[in-house]
């Protein structure tokens, strides 16, 4: 019966892999005896493993991207000397080269410079929408959890209704009334993200209300208002940055999608969705115009998601 025993070991390390990002430690415990390698090799290997065990490789990838993105959003001039609006008809649709690392668009504008300057739109709209959604969700979700029973029912039903409008269509419906533009995009996407956050915050608040320390606070005679201020609200607030980070990726995709449809910032703004919409027509002549903004968009979303998941894992471990 040695074979099943072995596979169960692999199964476990499979699980270890999932729980902690540092799997090598599990290997190190099992492997050395089996390997007939020299002591020196083992020493080197163990040192390397020890050093790399604490490293989150996903963060090594994500954090530099986010740092560059933050820099590009705050001070795009630091990353490029070019002007995103500097058109030069003679240099229309130049392929990527030493002069223009990501090529030029139809009007001869440098694509890389436009991507760098466009970061501000995409990231700020995404951040704004994600933050607005979380704040609205906090208001609505806490109201439901803390308020009287009838209020919870009314709010929960309301949240169900908002969730019943299919994603982007709710945003488009709102934009019909508010008009286009960056601010209205933030509003529409924030309202659209309300249900997911409100439900999460409500559920978390109920967990806090049912926890041992709240029980104890009640036996000490704390009023429910003080319990809300001292336990429920701080708990909910603590999780907000994580929620905003996790929601950021989706909000950036949503904002660039709406901009792609022409409902966000208007040309000649260099918003990434708009860049994709403009270059789409000339895809066969100039692939670079549509490929590089998409790569930028995808890597930012990946990086934000990785960071959000890491923060969440860390936060959840705190509770145990």
């Amino acid at each position: 019966m040695s074979a099943p025993a072995e596979t169960s070991v692999t199964d476990q390390s499979d699980v270890v892999l999932a729980v902690a990002a540092s799997s090598p430690s599990a290997d190190a415990a099992v492997a050395p005896a089996a390997l007939g390698s020299s002591r020196r090799y083992r020493n080197v290997r163990d040192t390397v493993l020890k050093w790399s065990a604490g490293v989150h490789w996903d963060l090594v990838f994500a954090l530099p991207i986010l740092a560059i993105v933050a820099l590009a959003a705050i001070a795009p001039g630091a990353l490029t000397s070019g002007d995103p609006l500097d058109a030069n008809p003679r240099e229309s649709h130049l392929p990527p080269g030493p002069e223009h690392l990501a090529g030029t668009d139809l009007l001869g504008r440098d694509v890389l410079t436009r991507i760098i300057y466009g970061t501000r739109y995409s990231v700020l709209i995404g951040l704004g929408a994600s933050t607005l959604g979380v704040l609205l969700g906090l208001l609505v979700g806490l109201g439901a959890a803390v308020g009287p029973r009838w209020l919870d029912r009314v709010i929960s039903r309301f949240v169900d209704v908002v969730a019943a409008f299919p994603g982007l269509l709710l945003a488009m419906f709102l934009i019909t009334f508010t008009g286009r533009g960056a601010g209205n995009l933030v509003l529409a996407l924030g309202v659209g993200a309300l249900p997911q956050y409100a439900r999460l915050i409500r559920a978390n608040a109920f967990v806090t209300l049912g926890s041992g320390y709240v029980e104890q606070a009640k036996t000490f005679g704390l009023t429910s208002r003080r319990i809300v201020w001292r336990h429920v609200l701080p708990n909910a607030l603590g999780a907000l940055p994580i929620m905003i980070t996790i929601g950021l990726g989706g909000a950036i995709i949503g904002s660039s999608a709406l901009s792609f449809l022409g409902l966000g910032p208007q040309p000649p703004a260099a918003e990434w969705g708009l860049l994709l919409a403009e270059s789409r027509t000339y895809l066969r002549q100039a692939w670079w115009g549509a490929v590089f903004p998409g790569v930028a968009l995808t890597s930012v979303v990946v990086a934000a998601t990785v960071l959000g998941q890491n923060l969440q894992r860390r936060y959840e471990r705190r509770d145990r």
Binding site: D160, L169, A257, L261, A290
Partner: protein, 371 residues
């Protein structure tokens, strides 16, 4: 999610102590040996859990279905009310809002006023609005100068076909990908989670553009020139289904991995079942239910995604109507599109929930209990 995962946890705990889960319930002691046997704790609780007699069971089932349908209608009604409020709260004169560029046309103005009852008190306007919708009278689109209902009747079919095809395809993708993803191969999960992350982070419209360029223009496959051919449906479907399929894969795989850590999986292993068999025979079924529930929710995302995909592939449909309505502020048209797709979404999630209620007795037991 909590209503789904809670009973699963209970089942696991019951299996750990070797007790059937329904300890609190009086039950006939006809098959004590069988249900105390810890080999299939999941199954035994599923069969024993619902009410004692078949009559009671049928009644609760019928009642739950009625309740679910009732709440779907309630949500739809409130959604309709919210759209009514949106039109009236929106800044500016309601008549001009509904008329758009025709606001100076006295005949059109009189028509809109009588159709919406705008010279009546607000509650009467609301009743008029509620009364008109079931009869399919959604007003006239001033840009396209045709009744909204007529436009919707033409646009709904292609969008619903696309959404349905994408739902089925994303389920297929999720099944195959989860089979691969959860195979008991060491290190596989770390590798696939990276791929999943990237695919899930792809902006759907960018994926659609890439598919169109590479597959259709580059390789010449699945031409979209003839919109009525099946080829034209392939790429839009994939553009919608790939992200959704990977999303479902994530949920399904998580469920499988959670299930194989549970005591019933360990028990199955101790009976001599291989790791693969445990996954495919036991864990998969366990993980399927949350995923099925999610399919209902994902229809909303697909309907929203269809807006963009239709735009990129030049497909006629609700998405095209929505985009043109938003761009020129055609309020009656966007109202119609929103109402139709919201109704479709509510219908889809209701059907999926009903399937869940019928298939899984644990949902019946926990429904209505505080989460």
């Amino acid at each position: 999610m909590t209503t789904i995962s809670d009973p699963a946890a209970q089942t696991g705990q019951a299996a750990k102590t070797g007790q059937p889960a329904q300890t609190g319930q009086p039950r006939p002691t006809a098959e004590p040996a069988q249900s105390a046997q810890p080999s299939q704790p999941g199954l035994s609780t599923i069969e024993d859990a619902p009410a004692t007699s078949t009559g009671g069971r049928a009644r609760t089932l019928a009642w739950l279905i009625t309740k679910r349908l009732g709440s779907a209608l309630l949500v739809l009604w409130i959604a309709v009310t919210l759209t009514f409020l949106a039109v009236h709260i929106a800044p500016g004169d309601t008549v001009s809002l509904l008329l758009g560029e025709n606001r100076d046309d006295p005949i059109a103005r009189a028509q809109v006023i009588s159709r919406w009852g705008l010279d009546q008190p607000i509650w009467s306007q609301y009743l008029t609005y509620l009364g008109r919708i079931p009869s399919g009278d959604l007003g006239v689109s001033y840009t396209l100068r045709r009744p909204v209902a007529e436009l919707l009747a033409q646009g709904a079919a292609p969008t619903l076909i696309l959404t349905f095809a994408a739902t089925v395809t994303s389920l297929l993708i999720a099944l195959v990908a989860t089979l691969i993803n959860t195979a008991p191969v060491r290190g596989l999960r770390a590798a696939t989670s990276g791929i999943q992350l990237v695919v899930l982070s792809l902006p759907p419209f960018w994926l659609a553009i890439l598919l169109l360029t590479v597959v259709s223009f580059g390789w010449g496959w699945f031409s979209i020139v003839d919109q009525n051919s099946w080829q034209a449906l392939v790429l839009p479907t994939l553009a919608l289904a790939i992200p959704m399929g990977f999303y479902l894969t994530q949920v399904l795989s998580d469920g499988v991995f959670r299930a194989i850590e549970q005591p019933f999986a360990v028990t199955a292993r101790s009976r001599g079942l291989g790791p693969a068999a445990v996954r495919y025979r036991h864990a998969f079924r366990h993980a399927a239910l949350p995923a099925v529930h999610l399919v209902g929710l994902s229809v909303g995302g697909l309907l929203g995604g269809a807006v963009i995909v239709e735009q990129i592939f030049g497909r006629p449909g609700l998405g095209q109507l929505a985009v043109s309505a938003v761009t020129v502020k055609d309020v009656p048209l966007i109202l119609g599109v929103t109402l139709v797709s919201t109704a479709a979404f509510i219908a889809a999630s209701t059907v999926v929930d009903l399937i869940g209620i019928v298939l899984d007795p644990r949902l019946r037991r926990t429904q209505g209990a505080p989460a």
